[in-house]
Subunit: 124 residues, 2 copies
């Protein structure tokens, strides 16, 4: 099994440095990128590279947690744009060569807690 | 290392069956449940059990993917309430006995895609 932890770290490290050749080297030519929240899909390494190169904003990524197994892995990251921080969660699937064949990407946004559970929770 | 895949499946299987004794058996007495989107935290097994028992709605859970390593794991689930489906992502941390000590829980909701990337994406 390839080193999926290192591959995920390479993915984020090259993205953070805008090293698009290095970023492309983590991807299968047939990679599929899926955003279930917007029901968008980007198919193929070339389009996915362009998607990331053109992504607006001066974003910066810090890895909070990586979990991997034989099939792939997941990264929970803190993405900062200016003073704003958002969580992002990327599920990765790899081929036998250790290249990324699929990314399922989630961007959970803040929301107001529903009423009725104040007796059980603390806010922070 | 304990079987974290099985522990996560037990967590969801017992929750789905409302087997609260079985659910409690997956948890450390000191478990911390954290919802970063609402900045809510539930501390301790008793409160966390009550939080789940009292959770409103006829919800049903289907596991989509589980990834684990020595420290813990993550589950991506499809949660259905009536005809509505939402994704949920739970990061788990375990103690040496295989009990859950921490859950970081995300509920990414649908949103409209931003303009400017229509040339790169397909919708589904």
């Amino acid at each position: 099994m390839a080193d999926h932890v290192q591959a995920i770290r390479d993915y984020w490290d090259t993205a953070e440095r805008r090293d698009w050749d290095g970023f492309a080297a983590t991807l299968s030519p047939d990679v599929v990128y899926d955003l279930p929240q917007t029901r968008e899909r980007v198919i193929g390494r070339d389009r996915y590279l362009t998607f990331n190169r053109e992504y607006p904003g001066d974003w910066h990524v810090a890895i909070r947690r990586v979990v991997t197994d034989d099939a792939g892995g997941v990264a929970w990251t803190d993405v900062r744009v200016g003073d704003e921080h958002v969580n992002a969660i990327h599920f990765f699937t790899f081929d036998d060569a250790g290249l990324i064949t699929r990314v399922d990407d989630f961007w959970p946004e803040p929301y107001d807690p529903p009423p009725g559970r104040e007796h059980l929770v603390e806010r922070y």
